[in-house]
């Protein structure tokens, strides 16, 4: 029972030899669990999985997608969004543009969360938004902006906390209707993002591991949430460097609530709450 280290290594090298993906810098336990899930879902053992990966290109691509999919939610961690609203984004209010990169956007819920926030702050038009992910299926879902209502119902509370309420002034309450941003259809269990939001971001495939070039040269804000937890320390360092390069001085970098920047590169940032602000 359970996959051995050797089997995992074999899997990684098979993928590496037959595709442009490299999982060798991925954290062991989550990778292992995801591979196990592929094996269980397909009811095969490691040997037959490897054989099929070598022969069947479509299966290979599907497997890679199964392994790289991440979960995301609308306004996950309201506190962070309140900080964005009241502490971070106001600094860019008088700028001509604000360049934003969602690095590892998965199915896009946070891309739309931020656009909603920007719209409420009157900064929608000046925003340029790039949203990238390694997983094309996730990107396709992000472009559609069509989510299961049932999964998201809990997060409407977060919408209220971030958009309607002001944690610094309890008397303030903006009764923004959900319909301004999405249409909920309970009978077919859907939550559909409104078109004006969907048309805004550029969604593009990008693998953080490979450090490929991206459209915009530099950004004022990079959101890379719950992505680096899947990487080992060495790969994290490489990704931090890349993100650093793509930030303007004084630009902000935001990770997930339980992610932090380790290593020397952290000295190039000032840590403000959950945000990392580039010093130089």
């Amino acid at each position: 029972m359970g996959l051995s280290e050797t089997e995992i290594q074999y899997f990684i090298s098979t993928i590496k030899n037959h595709s442009e993906y490299d999982f060798s810098g991925y954290s062991e336990k989550s990778l292992k669990r995801r591979i196990q899930k592929v094996i269980d879902d397909n009811r095969m053992d490691m040997a037959s999985l490897i054989k099929r990966l070598q022969r069947d290109r479509n299966f290979l691509e599907k497997t890679i997608k199964d392994i790289t999919v991440n979960t995301t939610e609308l306004f996950r961690d309201p506190k962070v969004w309140q900080d964005l609203r009241f502490r971070v984004l106001p600094r860019f209010k008088n700028n001509k543009n604000i360049n934003i990169w969602h690095a590892g956007c998965s199915t896009g819920q946070e891309v739309y969360s931020l656009l909603i926030l920007l719209n409420e702050m009157g900064m929608f038009d000046k925003a340029k938004v790039l949203a990238t992910d390694i997983n094309e299926d996730a990107l396709a879902e992000a472009r559609k902006g069509l989510y299961k209502y049932r999964f998201n119902i809990g997060y409407l509370d977060n919408f209220d906390k971030v958009i309607k309420e002001n944690p610094f002034n309890y008397e303030e309450y903006n009764d923004v209707p959900y319909s301004k941003y999405f249409r909920i259809n309970k009978s077919d269990d859907s939550l559909l993002i409104n078109d004006f939001l969907k048309q805004k971001p550029i969604f593009r495939k990008h693998d953080l591991v490979k450090g490929e070039d991206i459209y915009f040269a530099k950004f004022d804000l990079i959101m890379c949430r719950n992505v680096i937890i899947y990487f080992k320390y060495e790969l994290q360092t490489q990704v931090f460097q890349m993100l650093h390069q793509h930030l303007y001085n004084q630009g902000y970098l935001l990770f997930g609530m339980h992610e932090s920047m380790l290593g020397d590169i952290a000295n190039k940032f000032e840590k403000k709450g959950h945000f990392y602000r580039k010093k130089y």
């Binding site: 029972m1 359970g2 954290s27 062991e28 336990k29 989550s30 669990r33 995801r34 991440n70 979960t71 996950r76 961690d77 809990g154 509370d157 719950n226 680096i228 937890i229 899947y230 320390y233 994290q236 997930g256 609530m257 339980h258 992610e259 932090s260 380790l262």
Partner: protein, 185 residues
Amino acid sequence: MYKAIVIGGSAGSFRVITRILHALPRHFPAPILLNLHRLKHVRSGFVEALSIKSNIPVIEPYDKDSIKPGTAYLAPSNYHMYIELNKKIALSTEEAVNHSRPAIDLSFETAAQTYSRNLLGIILSGANRDGAWGLKKIKDGGGTTIVQDPKECEVPTMTEAALGMSQVDHVLNTQQIIDFLLKIK
């Protein structure tokens, strides 16, 4: 002896955990890894509540934090908490397992791979079946397993599931669990 203790619980486990943490000495010789189900929206305040009576620090770890003795690590809300072979915490936002995130099974299984026979696993009161499989993995790996006496549990489902899945070493009430832990050197 025991290099780590993993504890899983759900409904009805909060008071038990509080009692355990209250009873442990400040320099307890092993780390305690806690997986407690809680409401998705109860994100803060839990650590504080557990800390009030605890003699050892209770923290919600960050990804890649080192695991140190004499510290209780509470799986953060909405993350799975894995134990890597290098004795560091790894967090994940993969989908829920057994309708739970954190899932006790995942923490227990990965802790078993890391600590094998030097691991003590404890399942407390709870309303679902999460943890039973993980406790079996600990047993299979040569570790020691304890289940809270279902008669004492506010909700016995989780403990009964654990007892049904593997041969458990000890069935103990809260005081006996505390006595067992206090003997660890």
